[in-house]
């Protein structure tokens, strides 16, 4: 594997392999000296055309723990706003000898264009492209789910049979799309819950069951996982729903809804949360919430991805 562009490109086996490597990386992250020499001498560029402190520092930490040389390149705007074009930026990084580029870009498909344009030879890792995909988020979510349900016996396991509801702005969510593809591969059953305005109007290629009512989904399905999506502020005044209050009432996760979940079920959120809108404080701070675990696991999973893409010969004993 040279690039990680889309969760849809991951087979069941390759996904499980990355999650298993992440298990090993989590071991490193528990050590006193949290560092491996694996990527010494490799240059990794975090190329962010969009603000994202969380994802950027998670990648940065993962890269540093693998001893890579890290460059953060924050490019505001793109060729649309007459800034530097993606092509020129990519060619500049190529000229500097980047071994890998972690790219976050507001345009769907930007990572794929970068990987297939011939502008750059290094590995490309998609850290979120427009409203398309965010594959490392899906991997860290899958890792978190697996850890909660299989604990220390996680290695080698899939997510077969687990029932996952993803709730919120499915239409514009790269997190939802990546999770769908990865959860499909790993054998979980996916349910999308959202107002009809925030669901794709042509879902026939998407292997998920659609629901308009969160309460119905909670009573009809024996859910193991509820994944809440962030409502972006630009949706709020575009008539996708009448008001934040109404959205929160019908699709927000709260203490009453938490009671309907079985004890073993978990509530996830990719962050940052709008507390009081899509998720209330009781839920966010409950023991069923995995919000902070997701952040922690993000580093291990990103280390695993960098390792899988960049370390050449992969031997378990390198760790």
């Amino acid at each position: 594997m040279k690039n990680l562009l889309s969760a849809a490109d991951l087979t069941r086996d390759s996904a499980i392999e990355i999650l298993d490597i992440a298990e090993e990386m989590a071991g490193v992250n528990d050590r006193e000296i949290k560092k491996l020499p694996t990527l010494r001498g490799k240059t990794v560029v975090n190329l962010f055309f969009e603000d994202s402190t969380r994802t950027r520092i998670s990648f940065e930490l993962a890269e540093k723990r693998l001893s890579a040389d890290v460059i953060n390149f924050t490019a505001k705007g793109s060729s649309v706003s007459k800034g530097e074009s993606l092509k020129d930026t990519a060619q500049t990084l190529e000229a500097m000898g980047a071994d890998a580029v972690v790219i976050r870009h507001p345009a769907s498909g930007a990572a794929q264009i970068l990987a297939h344009s011939g502008w750059i030879q290094g590995s490309i890792i998609n850290a979120g492209d427009g409203t398309h995909e965010h594959p490392t988020q899906a991997l860290l979510d899958a890792y978190t789910i697996r850890k909660r349900f299989h604990g220390s016996a996680s290695s080698g396991k899939s997510l077969d049979g687990l029932k996952v509801a993803i709730v919120g702005d499915i239409l514009h969510s790269r997190v939802a799309r990546s999770n769908l593809f990865l959860l499909n591969s790993l054998g979980a059953e996916v349910h999308f819950v959202a107002p009809p305005t925030l669901l794709p109007s042509n879902p026939e290629n998407l292997k998920a069951e659609l629901h308009f009512s969160l309460d119905d989904a909670l009573s009809d399905i024996d859910l193991d996982v509820v994944m809440m999506l962030r409502i972006q502020s630009e949706r709020m005044n575009a008539s996708y729903f009448p008001s934040e209050r109404e959205y929160s009432k019908i699709w927000g996760f709260n203490a009453q809804r938490l009671e309907k979940l079985k004890d073993s079920a978990i509530v996830m959120h990719p962050g940052p949360m709008n507390r009081g809108l899509e998720i209330d404080a009781v839920t966010a701070d409950s023991k069923q919430s995995t919000v902070l675990e997701q952040v922690t696991n993000g580093v291990s999973v990103r280390m695993a991805v960098l390792y899988a893409l960049l370390s050449g010969e992969r031997n378990a004993d390198v760790i």
């Binding site: 870009h105 794929q112 109007s201 290629n205």
Partner: protein, 431 residues
């Protein structure tokens, strides 16, 4: 070559083999054993009236880095066209008599095809105020077709007034049907593929709702209307209904909407980015059937050149549009002839006779007979060719590069002058 010659043994659309004699820009004889000083063997070649494109972006004035009237008409000649209608979205916009006269005179100067400027419907294509349609119609350019192409005349009152007003000089409004609010930020067809790719959808209903409104408006005010680049199966149904009702509507389809689907967008290769967007296989099928059964009147290319930098970028930053002039005849042949479902007469109808009639181009689209203007294209129907990036157009944004297509334009004769001979462009235009 002299201005008097005989094309020997051509095959006419009817299937008959004849000689065609041309003298001083006119066809002076169609028969057997015709003789002139110059004889050109055309055995195996099909002779059709020179093609007429009702929808070409020549980009001049203003966007000469993409195309000029000269390079655009050279590309047209290579595609078998003897006339093109130049869209109004230039800089400045072709919304005054001055601009349309300039474009027309650049066409005459180039000499590779007749250039008919299309005038803007509204000032600056802004959709707010009618441009001086009468002044353009009465100018030396004698504009007959008006279009805000690239933008929709979305205001119902402006559309109604435009439809009524052009009756003064037997003009026609060519509508780019796109409801603007339903297509804000749209990047591709709204469907199963856009749901996977996370690109903002351009729903079929945004085209169909405008077409439905406009055929009803045309009926109400008793005007004729032309619909640009029809792209959906639903639009075909509306047009079928409108024609059955007797509404005076004509319709064009582009070559790309007859061949390509939104599945190609999976590559995020912006050469496939076009407006209206590539649709589904079901839409392509419906458009093909409608072209064959006459619901769709013509093929028009929507030839839209863009410089490399406008396409060499991420999808959402890329420009809409693709080249079409040099491949249109091959795609028409693929759809009408290779499918076994139609005929060369129909191909001549959709690429020449009908568009000339819609545009009121008196010297174009004349069937091959004695007395007609010698606008003739000769096609080798048996040839198959792989499309290459090399083109007379200044731009390279062809979505067909690498595809093998049937047929090849061998000669293009524009008013008795070979603009293309043996598939090679003439060094100079006709003067």
């Amino acid at each position: 070559m002299s201005s008097n010659f005989v094309l020997k043994n051509v095959t006419l659309a009817s299937g008959d083999t004849k000689d065609i004699q041309v003298s001083d820009g006119l066809i002076v004889g169609v028969g057997s054993d015709l003789v002139a000083d110059e004889m050109l063997d055309c055995t195996g070649l099909i002779a059709l009236p020179g093609f007429v494109d009702l929808h070409t972006h020549l980009r001049e004035p203003g966007f000469e880095q993409s195309e000029t009237v000269l390079t655009g008409t050279q590309s047209a000649a290579l595609g078998g066209f003897t006339a093109v209608h130049a869209m109004a979205n230039t800089m400045p916009v072709a919304d005054t008599a001055g601009v349309v006269e300039q474009v027309a005179s650049l066409g005459v100067e180039a000499g590779y095809a007749e250039v008919f400027p299309i005038g803007a419907v509204t000032v600056g294509l802004e959709g707010n105020q009618l441009a001086e349609l009468g002044a353009m119609a009465n100018s030396k350019a004698q504009v007959k077709i008006f279009s805000d192409d690239g933008k929709c005349v979305h205001d119902s009152v402006i559309m109604r007034r435009a439809l009524e007003y052009v009756k003064t000089f037997d003009g026609v409004i060519a509508q780019h049907a796109q409801e603007p609010r339903l297509t804000e930020g749209s990047q591709m067809n709204e469907g199963a593929v856009s749901a996977e790719l996370g690109l903002t959808g351009w729903p079929s209903v945004a085209e169909e709702s405008i077409i439905a409104r406009d055929v009803l408006l045309a009926e109400h005010v008793g005007s004729r209307i032309h619909i640009c680049h029809l792209s959906t199966a639903g639009s075909v149904e509306i047009i079928r209904w409108a024609k059955a009702r007797g509404i005076n509507v004509t319709v064009e389809v582009t070559p790309h909407h007859l061949l390509l689907t939104d599945e190609l967008v999976r590559s995020y290769d912006s050469v496939y980015k076009v407006n209206p967007p590539l649709r589904t296989a079901k839409d392509v099928q419906a458009l093909r059937e409608a072209l064959i059964d006459g619901t769709i009147d013509i093929i028009a290319t929507d030839h839209a050149p863009h410089p490399i930098e406008s396409k060499d970028c991420e999808w959402s930053a890329a420009a809409f549009g693709m080249l079409g002039l040099e491949t249109a005849a091959s795609i028409a042949q693929e759809v009408l002839i290779e499918s076994g479902k139609s005929s060369w007469s129909r191909l001549a109808e959709v690429l020449s006779i009908a568009p000339a009639k819609i545009g009121g181009d008196t010297n174009q689209g004349q069937i091959i007979q004695s007395g007609s203007v010698a606008n003739i294209v000769l096609i080798d129907p048996k040839a198959r060719r792989k499309v290459v990036a090399d083109s007379a157009s200044k731009s390279k944004n062809s979505p067909y590069i690498g595809l093998e297509l049937p047929g090849k334009v061998v000669h293009t004769i524009f008013k008795g002058y070979f603009t293309v001979r043996d598939s090679k462009l003439a060094a100079k235009g006709r003067h």
